[in-house]
């Protein structure tokens, strides 16, 4: 008969209110748990439902009912939240933000905190956002308070404010933070009292003992005048063990920001692999080791943004505030070492670019860090300027300075890989894409294009058959609206050796310039592109020297041929190129002859007879070259036809060079020297060789006078040529090798000889 007494039925309105609130609790607690029942009981009591009716009311919650229609306002709120939060994948929903969202939900959609909170939880979970509860925030801030307060029983106003500020960032009310701080200080005070109780007691006992001993001692003196040795007292100078007994605390020179960062790193970043402990040491050398460890850690895992920012602020703070100059210098060196330096070993992987930019950011933060001394700031700015090869203006606003340092780092990184491009083409090719991507976001467009172009000019010729890895950046530079990159890439075209690269680059540049060259030869392509992109400007002297170098390089690097016909052929070409070099040295006056002559070198006719050396034909061609040379030296201009023979033309060249060397003892004896050589030679062929020797001597002396910085090279070239000629056993080889030496000498006038 247990159910004999029936409970009165529940009033529907009351039941509806209970069901509305109870459903939320049930959902939140994920089932009818004990805690849930207790909460439901509280709601029921508040609504005035009697204990006897409570069970029935709870049962109505668990009864299977058709799904309730969705709450229209809640769905609107959900949509709104999704829209607002979707674009912020890194947003963290802290207590403050959550409170604002809930207030907004109540105001705009009439949703209570529980439902709105449930929707918020569902949306943040759906979007993968981080939601920090008040408890999480309190724990983190408490850890920071512990670190900042250490064993202190009081906190300076400034520290207090900093902690409040840090707490606010975590969404905690000021009252909560104050309470946390107060609790921590109260705990410290209690610990202090407990610790000092025994110390005080010991001191009191010790003082009392001393007083008693003194009294006894005095009494003994009074009573026994012949006092002898009085038993030695106990310890007279006991040093209180302070630091040893005190638990690890923060260095005194740390400010609150640094303390907070350190506490954060210690608790959230696993102490940065032990660096935190070392950096908190009272021993400066240990701190320096800690800094080193901190920066080593950067190289290992700098991709984590949180770690990156935290370590950056710690490094900046430590550099600015470090009490020991040696440790600070060590930290500065460690930072600078992370920056790219042309000539140093290339980074092992692209991850190290991150370390370089991290170092630049950390240095930028340090330069603007509160508490940094002028001397330390200047030292860091100087070190940065030296490493990045540019001035560092520390008066710039912090954000601008940071940006500038990142730009300088990107440029330095480009210089680094550009300088290594010739010797380490494969490594450079692997490092370039990551740097290019980063630099494109940092550098201004023109600067980025300049860096890319300079790099490509160095890397393309060195890449050999692997040049295609640069196809995209190459296309980007060629397509730049500014003609300068395309013009600079002409140098890559000049120096390129891979036939496919030359073909590809020629086509790209011709399309960019919108021109058709006279021929597909490299020099014609270069001339056409330059003329077109230079808006009609003529080739510069430097361009011409480079063209000459291109033409001459193969012959100059080639060893003297064994075949007499080939020797003659080489000699004709070399004589022509030497004349072209002499033309360039004359400046504007010689450019016309150069432009006309370089593309039309004289050549011996095909050998149809097989055996007969074309000596007289070669003699005639070389005579023409020497005549042109003499005319360029402005000596035979009055009677250019006078020199009918090769030796006459060569003598005119000798006279022309000698005219510019008046007072030289060699020139004073020149006439007799020439006569003796003519006698010694005995014929035109050998006399030409003899006159070539005079031309070598005179050319070297003229270059030494005009270009003192190249005097030693000129003298050495002439001496080596004469020495080699003396050992030769073939007059044609002498003719060829001496002409090659003459060309080398005259190319010393060029810009990049």
């Amino acid at each position: 008969m247990a159910n004999d007494i029936q409970s009165p039925p529940l009033e529907p309105a009351l039941l509806a209110a209970f069901r509305q609130e109870g459903a939320v609790i049930l959902a939140h607690e994920r089932g009818l748990t004990t805690a849930c029942r207790m909460k439901l009981a509280g709601v029921a009591r508040r609504l005035g439902i009697g204990d006897d009716q409570m069970e029935a009311a709870i049962k109505t919650l668990t009864a299977v009912e058709p799904s309730a229609p969705p709450n229209f306002q809640a769905e609107r709120f959900r949509r709104r939240l999704r829209k607002d939060l979707r674009g912020k994948p890194r947003a963290i929903i802290g207590p403050t933000i959550e409170a604002k969202i809930l207030a907004s939900a109540r105001r705009k959609y009439g949703l209570d905190a529980a439902l709105a909170g449930q929707v918020l939880a569902e949306v943040t979970s759906e979007l993968g956002l981080m939601r920090i509860s008040a408890n999480d925030a309190i724990q983190t801030v408490a850890a920071q308070i512990d670190q900042a307060a250490g064993n202190s029983t009081w906190l300076a106003r400034e520290t207090w404010d900093r902690l409040r500020s840090a707490g606010s960032k975590w969404g905690l009310d000021v009252e909560v933070i104050d309470t946390l701080i107060e609790e921590r200080l109260a705990a410290n005070r209690a610990a202090y009292r407990q610790n000092t109780f025994w110390t005080d007691a010991t001191i009191r006992v010790a003082v009392a003992s001393v007083v008693v001993a003194a009294l006894i001692f005095g009494l003994l003196i009074v009573t026994r005048r012949s006092a002898t040795d009085v038993g030695g007292g106990s310890s007279s100078a006991s040093v209180p063990a302070t630091s040893e007994n005190r638990p690890l605390s923060t260095p005194k020179w740390w400010d609150v920001d640094l303390s907070v960062e350190m506490a954060h790193a210690k608790s959230q970043l696993d102490g940065l692999n032990g660096a935190c402990v070392l950096m908190a040491s009272s021993d400066a050398s240990q701190r320096a080791a800690g800094y080193q460890k901190l920066i080593e850690h950067i190289g290992e895992d700098v991709r984590n943004q949180e770690t990156q920012l935290a370590t950056m602020r710690i490094a900046a703070g430590c550099y600015a505030l470090e009490s020991d100059d040696t440790a600070a210098t060590q930290l500065r060196s460690d930072l600078i070492r992370r920056l790219p330096a042309p000539g140093s070993p290339l980074p092992a992987s692209t991850v190290q670019w991150n370390a370089a930019f991290w170092a630049a950011d950390a240095a930028g933060l340090a330069l603007n860090r509160r508490g940094i001394t002028v001397a330390r700031k200047t030292a860091l700015a100087d070190a940065l300027a030296a490493a990045l090869s540019d001035t560092v203006d520390t008066s710039l606003p912090a954000r601008d300075l940071q940006k500038r340092l990142r730009q300088l780092t990107a440029s330095a990184a480009y210089r680094h890989i550009t300088s290594a491009a010739a010797n380490q083409p494969a490594q450079v090719a692997a490092l370039h894409p990551a740097l290019s991507k980063r630099a494109a976001a940092i550098l201004p467009d023109d600067e980025f294009m300049r860096c890319e172009t300079a790099f490509l000019v160095a890397a393309l010729p060195a890449a050999g058959g692997n040049w295609r890895v640069y196809e995209r950046p190459l296309a980007r530079c060629v397509a730049s609206p500014d003609p300068l990159p395309a013009l600079r890439l002409l140098d890559a075209l000049r120096r390129g050796t891979d036939a496919k690269l030359i073909d590809h680059l020629s086509k790209q540049l011709l399309v960019r310039a919108g021109v058709r060259p006279k021929s597909s030869s490299r020099s014609d392509v270069i001339a056409a592109v330059r003329q077109s992109l230079g808006a009609g400007a003529a080739l510069t002297a430097a361009d011409r020297w480079i063209s000459l170098r291109d033409e001459a390089m193969e012959l100059l690097e080639k060893t003297s041929a064994k075949d007499d016909r080939e020797l003659l052929n080489d000699t004709v070409t070399l004589a022509h190129l030497t004349t072209m070099a002499v033309a360039l040295v004359q400046g504007q006056a010689g450019f016309a002859l150069f432009d006309a002559g370089l593309s039309h070198p004289p050549q011996l006719a095909q050998d149809l007879t097989h055996g007969n050396l074309p000596l007289d034909e070669a003699q005639q061609l070389i005579t023409d070259c020497y005549r042109q040379r003499a005319a360029l030296l402005a000596l035979s201009s009055s009677s250019p036809a006078a020199s009918t023979s090769v030796t006459d033309a060569a003598k005119e060249c000798v006279a022309g060079l000698a005219a510019g060397l008046k007072g030289d003892p060699f020139v004073a004896e020149l006439q007799y020297h020439q006569e003796a050589l003519r006698y010694l030679a005995g014929d035109s062929l050998r006399y030409t060789v003899a006159l070539q020797r005079l031309l070598l001597e005179l050319s070297a002396r003229r270059i030494a006078m005009a270009r003192p910085e190249r005097a030693a090279t000129a003298r050495q070239l002439a001496a080596e040529a004469l020495s080699a000629s003396a050992k030769s056993n073939n007059v044609l080889a002498q003719l060829r090798d001496q002409e090659a030496a003459l060309l080398k000498l005259w190319m010393l006038y060029g810009p990049e000889s």
Binding site: L613, Y672, A676, L680, D683, S684, Y687
Partner: protein, 230 residues
């Protein structure tokens, strides 16, 4: 000694200053122990002396290398008891007494040796000493040495080189050095093909006092049987 030997010794005697012949003969005999010296051997009963370089010598015999035409050599062995004379022409002692600060002495000894033109070592030694004197001496010594070299040239080409050098390095630039026998300057072949046809592809030698001969004039001190730099 038969008539031939007497004539030969008379020629040798005439080619040397009379007061120095006994000394030279004595020195040659005393210093014969140093190997690779030029020697003149007069076997008993032979009409012509044998001239060459001493290859080795012991108490009983001597081996002489004779340069033959065409660059070949022939070694001949002689018993000492079968020899009338054994003469070493170039005196190592004289050579070792020469010092670079007195280049005129090189020229003087070269003149003595140049007189023994039939002895190949004497001739080579003379060329070397002239080359040293030309490279290290003053204008007068140089000119004298260069003139001396002309007479010792092995070929017309070499004579041309020595004449050109004598003219080039003579302060007075004596034109007669470059004149042909008729007193005129030599005609000049203007065509390269004709020049090659006439003289082949032989190289143009260097007109330099340092490389005028096959000997390096920097090696101007004779020590331990070798020429070295001071």
């Amino acid at each position: 000694m038969d008539q031939n030997r007497k004539r030969w010794l008379a020629r040798l005697h005439l080619s040397m200053p009379s007061d120095k012949l006994p000394v030279a003969l004595f020195a040659c005999l005393v210093l014969a122990a140093s190997s690779a010296h030029a020697v003149v051997v007069l076997p008993k009963g032979a009409s012509q002396p044998v001239m060459g370089y001493m290859v080795r010598e012991d108490a009983r015999s001597i081996v002489v290398r004779q340069p033959l035409p065409g660059g070949k050599n022939r070694e001949s062995s002689f018993l000492k008891k079968d020899l009338d004379e054994l003469i070493i022409t170039v005196s190592p002692q004289r050579l070792s007494e020469l010092t670079p600060d007195k280049p005129a002495l090189y020229s003087e000894y070269a003149e003595e040796l140049a007189e023994k033109q039939r002895d190949p070592e004497a001739r080579d030694a003379a060329i070397r000493l002239y080359a040293i004197a030309a490279a290290r001496g003053d204008a007068a010594v140089r000119h004298s040495a260069l003139l001396g070299l002309i007479a010792l040239a092995h070929s017309a080409e070499e004579a041309r080189l020595f004449r050109a050098a004598a003219f080039r390095f003579d302060p007075h630039h004596d034109d007669s050095l470059l004149a042909t026998q008729g007193g005129l300057m030599e005609e000049f072949e203007p065509s390269w093909s004709a020049a090659v046809k006439w003289r082949g592809l032989s190289p143009l030698p260097e007109l330099s006092l340092e490389r005028l001969t096959e000997f390096n004039p920097e090696q101007c001190v004779f020590r331990g049987g070798k020429w070295t730099k001071p």
